[in-house]
């Protein structure tokens, strides 16, 4: 077996071996890996593992979700707030296929997960057995690594490898499929050793000093340098190093949706959000800067807009841990391979202490325009109907920016990301790359388990909420305390916005009806309220935050509001529209 031969460098410390089933060995392994919470759903092919869980209940908290997709999004939420690996259990067949959306989401957003799926007995593989699905092949494109275990003796090594791969380098989801016979099989368990080396796997490229020097020279010569930062700063736990770099170099810094919160939103050098619905200045000035410094971000098309008109005037310094990201979308002048926790301090040391006052002023000038034309009417509307933005503004007043904000996908997501105040890292949990509607409710459950001392607020649209609302059952059964804010515009708002702007208002299936969300919550024993008028908003939000336990607040917002600014698809970032 390849795995047995190659993966473990440290010798297995066997004082004396004990006889364990594959299932028990799996749970022992999870405990050594520091796992405390598992999100899962039982089924035929994973029953032996669930049977073993009965004996490990005091060490492993298993959260019974209502759907495997909910389980994996919860695992993602947990990983995003805790910084640990999210662990998910599912059975074979439909259980495993229900994980696919979450795996794709975790893969594109670099979220560390270890998913364990049950599988039919090894002798039944390939026979179209009951609940048999070729989960390894189905999940290959959406996992960083996957492996099928058919013999219990493989379990310790494979699980060690799974955790190492999920968490190291650029993190990602790993799926381990374990056949039922391997779960039942007894073997001599010789202890568990964590994996820290796989010869074919290079999690971190070696830092090259020559590139650091070239980058520093470019930065020191630059008159209009501009920093773009992404989730890489958070995943690399390099928030401090990043802040030091920004503050010493005095360079304005803008964030991708997943990078939000890596430095506080009100930091004087934080100039706002990038991308399609980002802030005005960061988009326009991308095409004016002379040196672009991209840190832990991957130039997603929603960030760059039209690529052949993206920052063509600038020299590009790209810091990334994943070599495949360098030059993938935007050609770099200087590629700074490596973990930004290592590369940023090296760079900070070489950059000169500067203040780019005039350049920074240009961002402020753009902000002023954006405030006048967009932000003011979004946050302080004079219309009767409420806007999404004002809900976020009022929420900021109550959270002071200390809460974890979990968002779904669509207009409310863009509004929440634009306006939510975030003081701390790991405060923004959203489906960025995949844009998975239905992400927020289960992710908020996981986020709370990952950061139990923090307030967790899920902001969800009326459409997305209805995709995974069954997880209210999980909220009920676990008795956790999360706040759910549904911003209800009675539309699939983002698609409607596009249909209005680009399809001459030909509304096609965006008119969505909803149940009475408050009564729905009530059926699950969750307190709730609906607010239709502005005068009740603040008190309702306050009541929600003060409530002991979970709470659902539905806010009726204006139906046909558009999120602006906007970079229309196929346009350059500097062609961003304010209306």
């Amino acid at each position: 077996m390849e795995v047995a031969n190659e993966t473990l460098t440290a010798p297995v410390k066997a004082e004396k071996s004990i006889e364990l089933t594959g299932s028990a060995a799996l749970l022992e392994a999870l405990i050594v890996e520091g796992v405390d919470t598992i999100f899962g759903y039982p089924g035929g092919a994973i029953m032996p593992i669930y049977d073993a869980l009965v004996d490990y209940g005091d060490k492993l908290n298993h959260i019974l979700v209502r759907h495997e997709q909910g389980g994996i999004h919860a695992g993602q939420g947990y990983a995003r707030t805790s910084g640990k690996v999210g662990v998910v259990f599912a059975t074979s067949g439909p259980g495993a296929t229900n994980l696919v959306t979450g795996l794709a989401d975790a893969q594109i957003d670099s979220t560390p997960l270890v998913c364990i799926t049950g599988q039919v007995f090894a002798h039944l593989l390939g026979t179209d057995a009951f609940q048999e699905t070729d989960v390894i092949n189905i999940t290959t494109p959406v996992t960083k690594w996957n492996y099928q275990v058919t013999d219990a003796t493989e379990i310790p090594e494979v699980i060690a490898k799974a955790f190492y791969i999920a968490k190291s380098g650029r993190p990602g989801p790993v799926l381990i499929d374990i056949t039922k016979n391997a779960q039942i099989q007894k073997f001599d368990f010789k202890g568990y050793t964590k994996c820290d080396h796989i010869r074919s796997y290079r999690p971190k490229p070696i830092v090259r000093q020559q590139y650091i020097q070239q980058a520093a020279e470019l930065i020191n010569r630059a008159e209009k340098p501009f920093i773009l930062f992404g989730q890489g700063v958070i995943l690399g736990e390099a928030e401090k190093e990043f802040k030091a770099f920004v503050e010493k170099s005095g360079i304005p810094a803008a964030w991708t949706v997943l990078g939000a919160g890596a430095i506080p939103t009100d930091h004087p050098l934080n100039v706002g959000m990038l991308g399609m619905h980002g802030n005005y200045g960061p988009n326009v000035l991308t095409n004016s800067c002379d040196v672009l410094i991209a840190i832990g971000m991957r130039f997603d098309d929603r960030v760059t807009g039209r690529l052949d008109k993206y920052a063509k005037q600038a020299q590009v310094i790209h810091l990334d841990i994943d070599p495949a990201e360098i030059d993938k979308n935007v050609k770099s002048t200087v590629p700074v391979w490596g973990d930004c926790k290592e590369t940023l301090p090296l760079l900070t040391e070489l950059v000169e202490h500067k203040e780019h006052k005039e350049w920074l002023q240009q961002f402020h000038d753009h902000t002023k325009q954006e405030v006048e034309q967009v932000i003011e009417k979004e946050l302080n509307p004079t219309t009767d109907e409420m806007t999404m933005g004002e809900v976020i503004k009022q929420l900021n007043e109550l959270t002071k920016g200390d809460a974890v904000i979990v968002t779904d996908v669509g207009q409310h997501q863009m509004v929440a990301c634009r306006y939510a105040k975030l003081n701390k890292t790991r405060s923004n949990v959203t489906s960025g790359g995949l844009g998975t509607m239905g992400f927020a409710l289960p992710a908020a459950i996981g986020a709370k388990f990952g950061a139990q001392e923090r307030d967790v607020i899920a902001i969800i649209g009326d459409g997305g909420f209805q995709m995974t609302l069954q997880e209210l059952g999980t909220v009920m059964q676990t008795g956790i305390n999360i706040k759910i804010v549904i911003l209800n515009n009675h539309f699939l708002g983002m698609v409607r916005q596009w249909q209005e702007l680009f399809n001459e208002r030909r509304y096609s299936f965006v008119d969505i009806q909803s149940p009475d969300f408050v009564r729905l919550a009530s059926a699950y024993g969750i307190e709730g309220k609906r607010v239709d008028e502005r005068k009740d908003l603040v008190s309702a939000l306050k009541e929600m935050m003060d409530h002991q336990g979970s709470y659902l607040l539905e806010v009726t917002v204006t139906k046909e509001n558009n999120v602006f600014p906007m970079v229309p698809q196929g346009c350059s970032v500097s062609e961003i529209r304010l209306k």
């Binding site: 494109p141 690594w145 010869r199 796997y201 495949a324 030059d327 490596g338």
Partner: protein, 201 residues
């Protein structure tokens, strides 16, 4: 034809991997997700114990090939990936031809044609004879055309195998590739036989 099509040419991609179930699929989907057709694929154990070597041929622009190679190299069980143009490699395909023995015995010209085309007899039976030849696509194709009138019973051609022309083998190529690549693992051919040590990071 767009500019991109003009830039397209055959590239030979060499992938060194662990011997792992499912890796073929993991590598193949990196091409298929970009809708790139794999023209030829050969996989076999390499000169190093436990390490496999894939030879993959695709027709693409160098820019795409470079990105694809990085995405392949990112896979956990992939040790190293290289790409070369046809000019940089010596390559061969093996072909087998099954022809009725009677026809060959009767027709003297067939024997001459086979000899001219460098075909060798692999199996000689009463009922049929199997010839093999190796070479570039045009060469193996040429023999099909020659044998067709004489009743070609069966034909099969292997995937391409390629070795780089550079007298230093992968050594200097590796260094060149490494120049802009991360990592310190400059793999030298003389080390390759030492297996485990080579790829230590």
């Amino acid at each position: 034809m767009s500019n991109q099509d003009i830039e397209k040419q055959e590239f030979n991609i060499t992938v060194y991997t662990e011997n792992q179930i499912g890796l073929l699929n993991r590598i193949a989907i990196i091409f298929t997700r970009r809708k790139i057709n794999i023209d030829s694929l050969n996989t076999s154990p390499s000169e190093i114990d436990s390490i496999h070597r894939f030879n993959i041929v695709i027709t693409e622009s160098e820019d795409v090939v470079r990105k694809v190679c990085r995405q392949i190299e990112k896979q956990v069980e992939v040790l190293k990936v290289y790409y070369h143009t046809n000019e940089d490699v010596i390559w061969q395909e093996l072909a087998l031809y099954k022809v009725s023995t009677d026809v060959i015995a009767e027709q003297v010209s067939v024997e001459r044609l086979l000899r001219e085309n460098g075909a060798r007899v692999v199996v000689l039976r009463k009922d049929y004879t199997v010839f093999e030849t190796s070479g570039h696509r045009e060469e193996t194709d040429a023999l099909i055309n020659i044998l067709q009138p004489y009743g070609l019973i069966e034909f099969v051609r292997s995937a391409r195998v390629a070795i780089i022309k550079d007298s230093d083998g992968f050594n200097s190529k590796l260094r060149e590739f490494e120049r802009l690549e991360p990592g310190e693992d400059v793999i030298e051919n003389e080390y390759l036989n030492q297996g485990q040590k080579v790829f230590s990071m």
